[in-house]
């Protein structure tokens, strides 16, 4: 059976012959499962017996004979960017396929001038805001404090794509400590905030070089591939030239959201 997981308007069809794994995908990706079969890429999953998952093992993403070979301790995947087809070998668990999807999206996005970034994001009044920061900077805290008129797109990994006029942010099911998948929404991006916890809530300007540095440090890079790294590097400079980047100094309470509108 095939389930289409539609993240960032780039649907990926995942095929498995295991009803148990299909049910797990349905449960894990919820509102991101798209009933329409159109897809940009497809993955056939070959399930192997479960073994100790070594999630910490370094991921390797390399291009061999025009196919991406993606390996981690708990999975091995191959994907052909020309045909959009690929295979994954993993045991029945949600973490491996999640890792494959993140990497596949980072590869597909790079060619389109987009990227995945370690950041929370949310939509308010039809506009998206991204909150970037290292672990502990407050991504999850700020997401948890979001008032009712705010839809959280993710508390962990934000999805950014260029649009006709600026950039768009998309919800992702890639959750962090909040352990809740984001809203399946898209909205034009209004600003990116660099998160810093401090004694009061305020917004500071950030110069373009610092903005580029901060975004680059938070980008999810997997492929150590010269061409792709060059593309993403270029995309970040294009991004900071078009999207306002500011520093959000905030105390961990809901009043920080009064500054975001």
């Amino acid at each position: 059976m095939t389930l289409t997981i539609d993240i960032g308007a780039m649907p990926i069809a995942v095929t498995t012959d295991s009803p148990e794994f299909a049910a797990l995908l349905q449960d894990r990706y919820g509102s991101f499962i798209n009933p329409s079969p159109a897809s940009e890429a497809s993955l056939d999953v070959d399930l192997i017996p479960s073994r100790t998952i070594e999630e910490d093992e370094d991921v390797s993403v390399r291009l061999e004979s025009n196919r991406w070979i993606i390996t981690r301790g708990d999975f091995r995947a191959e994907w052909d960017p020309a045909t959009g087809r690929g295979r994954v070998r993993q045991s029945i668990n949600p973490y491996s396929i999640d890792g494959v999807l993140r990497i596949l999206h980072s590869l597909m996005l790079a060619r389109q001038g987009g990227f995945l970034v370690h950041a929370a994001s949310a939509v308010r009044n039809g506009r998206a805001f991204i909150f970037a920061g290292v672990s502990g900077a407050g991504k999850t805290t700020l997401s948890r404090l979001a008032p009712p008129d705010v839809e959280v797109l993710t508390d962990e990994i934000s999805y950014v794509r260029p649009a006709a006029d600026g950039y768009e942010a998309f919800g992702t099911p890639f959750a962090g400590e909040l352990a809740r998948i984001g809203a399946n929404l898209r909205a034009p991006l209004a600003a990116l905030y660099l998160l810093v916890q401090g004694p009061e809530n305020r917004i500071e300007p950030v110069d373009p070089a610092e903005a580029a540095r901060a975004v680059l440090r938070n980008i999810l890079f997997f492929a150590h591939d010269e061409e792709l790294v060059g593309q993403v590097f270029q995309s970040v400079f294009d991004f900071v030239a078009r999207v306002p980047v500011r520093r959000l100094i905030f105390t961990p309470d809901a009043r920080a959201w009064e500054l975001i509108a």
């Binding site: 373009p208 580029a212 540095r213 680059l216 150590h224 591939d225 010269e226 790294v229 060059g230 590097f233």
Partner: protein, 95 residues
Amino acid sequence: MTNCYPTRSKQVAARMLGGEMMIMSAQNTTLFNLNDVGSLIWNAADGRTSLDEIVARLCVEFEVTPETARHDAETFIEELASHGILLLSDRPKEN
């Protein structure tokens, strides 16, 4: 360090913004930010310009002694070479 000819690796992405040179290694995506001295050395590292010439430029540009300039240049070049960002040769690149 004896005289050498540093060359910028092609396995990097580099861009100047706001007076700051940012370089990202395609091998391991490490990000480097270069100051004025580093940027001058980076821009001069075309494989044809020797360390001695780079030291001379640093002396003029930043009004430092040759000893200081040489120390700074050698430290910088060794550091970037250890990351594979600069390649070192004992002879100038041809053509």
